[in-house]
């Protein structure tokens, strides 16, 4: 049994039992505080069927270059840390397998539309503050309960109306794919807009008018042109594009 444990830990360590193929990673390197030159470093590493891009980056970090700056945590696509641009498209590193990329060289860059802290790590301050700005919580005088209060009844159908938008892991991939975000530094962005809809669609919430007012300005919801790129990169099936259009339906008087 003991040797078992060891075997499995070797698996985890990435000491490859049967190295099948190798891949070249081109990793973007840049530290804006130190110099103004960015560059790509290339690393060759072995990989297997299940190796993810995050595994590969961490493998490089362990053995080839300790100094790569990269954000990660859950390694199972639930924390939203590891968004980056992989072969030109924003994706979660831990949710992209090397074997499904079909290329011999993988180019890894930081997500666009977020300031670079260093290498692959980007700053999220603005996204967190736009998220806060749309009041992402239940607005209802009765939301703080007293002893003895039971649940607010909600049927499975009521839950269906918002559950999808509630799966957002705040990874920012949508904001990085959206064409408006590419040039507009003041746009609220698909992440926050989808969350505004998430709360509006919840029948426990009474904050619809508040939120509609907040997003109805010159860099608000109308800067979305239904390009849909946000939904195409979203790793959790949130479909922000849908949420945004449904939300705008209220403002245009198509829904109430």
């Amino acid at each position: 049994m003991t040797s078992e444990g060891l075997q499995i830990s070797k698996e985890e360590s990435g000491i490859i039992v049967s190295p099948t193929k190798t891949i070249t990673l081109r990793i973007f390197r840049y530290n804006p505080k130190i110099n103004n030159e960015s560059k790509f470093d290339e690393f060759k590493i072995p990989y297997q069927r299940w190796t993810t891009v995050l595994d590969a980056i961490l493998e490089v970090k362990k053995h080839l270059d300790h100094s790569i700056a990269v954000r990660y945590s859950c390694r199972q696509a639930s924390c939203g840390s590891c968004g980056m641009k992989i072969n030109g498209r924003p994706a979660l590193a831990c949710f992209t397998k090397i074997s499904e990329l079909n290329s011999d060289v993988i180019t890894i860059e930081p997500m666009n539309n977020f300031p670079i802290i260093r290498d692959l790590a980007v700053g999220f301050e603005r996204m967190f503050s736009t998220h806060k700005k749309i009041k992402p919580y239940i607005i209802n005088e009765e939301s703080e309960i007293n002893p003895g209060t039971k649940e607010f009844l909600q049927t499975p159908e009521d839950v269906e109306k918002y559950i999808q938008f509630s799966s957002c892991i705040k990874c920012g991939l949508c904001n990085s794919a959206c064409p408006t975000m590419a040039t507009d530094s003041s746009f609220v962005g698909p992440q926050a807009l989808a969350q505004a809809y998430r709360y509006v669609a919840d029948n426990r919430d009474k904050g619809k008018d508040d939120r509609l007012k907040i997003i109805d300005d010159s860099h608000g919801i109308f800067r979305c042109h239904f390009a849909g790129s946000c939904s195409q990169v979203c790793p959790k099936g949130v479909d922000p594009a849908m949420g945004i259009q449904l939300l705008r339906g209220y403002l245009l008087g198509f829904r109430d």
Binding site: F114, F165, A177, M181, A182, T183, G228, D239, Q245, G249
Partner: protein, 144 residues
């Protein structure tokens, strides 16, 4: 143009339609046709103002525009306006939340409902209609 320290993708990223499917391509075409039409519209207002120069002036101006190049430009305008109009109606309905799908628990692998087949068909049809209209326009203009 965008601030460098935000690592914005910039105009290059905005107009690059290759990575995100037909919807992103339609977004770009909508913009380009909108701008194109606006340019034509302004030109057209100027063009028609030549009527004030009397018959001679008008005919002088007609001579400049009624050329093969002029006809091709006009055909493109026809195509642009058909695409912009048809796609505009699709986009407008979408913006109102119509036909963008119904919220539901998504199942892996996630296929976003808002990017549904109806929209794809509408986009392809607006492109095809625009092409047909252009051909018709060319036929009318060169057919004489």
């Amino acid at each position: 143009m965008a601030k460098v320290d935000e690592n914005k993708e910039g105009i290059k990223g905005m107009v690059n339609p290759t990575r995100y499917g037909i919807e992103r391509f339609a977004y770009l075409l909508m913009r380009l046709t909108g701008l194109g039409l606006l340019a034509y519209f302004v030109a057209h207002i100027y063009e028609t103002s030549n009527i004030l120069r009397g018959k001679v002036g008008w005919q002088e101006f007609l001579a400049i525009t009624q050329t093969p190049e002029g006809h091709i430009i006009l055909a493109i305008v026809i195509g642009m306006s058909v695409f912009h109009t048809v796609n505009g109606i699709r986009v407008m309905l979408g913006h109102g939340g119509i036909g963008v799908g119904k919220p539901a628990r998504p199942d892996y692998p996630y296929a976003p409902q808002s990017q549904n087949a109806r929209h794809k068909i509408a986009i392809y049809s607006s492109i095809v209609l625009a092409a047909l209209a252009m051909m018709y326009g060319l036929a009318v203009m060169f057919g004489e």
